[in-house]
């Protein structure tokens, strides 16, 4: 009987230690992320980054994303909703984190589409067709290409020319470097007015945005 009690006590002690360690570690991580963000304010926004919403808005959402990332696709409507709900108060800045193999080519297409002012439409199309060209964690720009052609969204000849712009590579390098500085090692990574999400999730993002709206308006 006594032995059984020892075992049960051991189980509870171990689970307790686990919970405590988890709590301490998570608190430390949030602290580190917040500090990183506070120390590197210049890393958030680059002049080259695509934006949406009011450029003078007091709440800025920065999203590090990968067009081949499934979770980024799922978060996209949430952000679009927020932008529609507060068109004057929120702006979105997107940064590239092409972590998947081949994603850099997708980013190149996005950058080239920007020159025709079709960045957001192209991004929407990428997310819509993502299941068909993002296969086994590989981004297949060749597969996406056919969708792009059929929609007639872009002037394809100009697109092909713009894809070779060496500036695209620099944009990607800069975004990857800034992402590294800020600890954005997963996609999507969000910062709202420089603050990281306390933990990952839709509600956490919406809450953080609401907090910032309240604080600034």
């Amino acid at each position: 009987m006594k032995k059984n009690q020892i075992i049960i006590a051991a189980v509870f002690v171990m689970l307790g230690i686990f919970a405590l360690a988890t709590y301490i570690y998570s608190a430390q991580q949030t602290e580190t992320k917040t500090q990183l963000a506070a120390q590197n304010t210049s890393a958030f926004i680059a002049d080259h980054s695509p934006r949406k919403g009011n450029p003078n808005a007091k709440v800025t959402i920065v999203e590090f994303f990968d067009p081949a990332c499934h979770t980024c696709k799922q978060f996209h409507p949430v952000i679009v909703d927020l932008l529609q709900k507060y068109p004057a108060k929120i702006q979105l800045v997107v940064r590239y984190s092409p972590f998947h193999q081949g994603s850099d080519q997708m980013v190149a297409i996005l950058e080239a589409s920007r020159k025709q002012n079709k960045f957001w439409d192209t991004l929407e199309l990428m997310y819509e067709t993502q299941d068909n060209w993002a296969i086994n964690h590989q981004a297949r720009a060749d597969l996406f290409w056919s969708y792009l052609k059929t929609t007639k969204l872009l002037d394809m000849e100009r697109m092909i020319k713009d894809l070779n712009d060496p500036a695209i590579g620099q944009v990607i390098q800069q975004d990857l470097a800034d992402g590294k500085t800020l600890g954005a090692n997963k996609t999507p990574t969000f910062f709202v007015n420089g603050k990281p999400l306390p933990s990952f999730g839709y509600d956490q993002l919406i809450n953080l945005v609401n907090n910032e709206l309240e604080a600034n308006y």
Partner: protein, 143 residues
């Protein structure tokens, strides 16, 4: 009768200690992967495969005490130990790179396996599997 009880007590102690180590290792391993979000490499996965059931089988052998549990647990501990030894040899470069089974994906000799700057995770695994193996062997001798 008293001798029997004493022998039982010793066996219980050995199995209990082995279970304690297995359960702690399981939780530690889960902490690394789920909380610290370290991605387990291939060899880590094989070791996890052998440590996770140990924490459950040994517990079953304690409620109530069943010496036969050693029979089922020992092969798991020994298999885990073999994988750990292989991992250690690889980690310290005693086996050449070309034999490394996990160059793709997560490296088995990555720096991320070193805790607090000095303690490699494979070494923790080696300590756990050796201790469990020895304790189970001792529990078997007594029976």
């Amino acid at each position: 009768m008293d001798q029997q009880t004493e022998a039982d007590n010793k066996t219980w102690m050995f199995i209990f200690a082995a279970w304690l180590i297995a359960a702690l290792s399981t939780l530690t391993s889960l902490f690394f992967s789920e909380i610290m979000e370290l991605v387990p490499c291939v060899l880590c996965w094989y070791q996890r495969i052998f440590i996770f059931p140990l924490s459950i089988i040994l517990l079953m052998g304690l409620f109530p005490l069943d010496r036969n549990v050693v029979r089922y647990a020992l092969p798991l501990a020994v298999m885990g130990l073999l994988f750990t030894i292989y991992h250690i040899l690889l980690f310290y470069g005693l086996i050449p790179e070309s034999m490394e089974p996990c160059t793709q994906g997560i490296s088995c000799k990555d720096d991320s396996m070193i805790l607090f700057g000095f303690l490699p995770i494979p070494l923790l695994s080696l300590a756990a599997f050796s201790a469990i193996t020895i304790l189970l062997l001792k529990a078997r001798v007594k029976s």
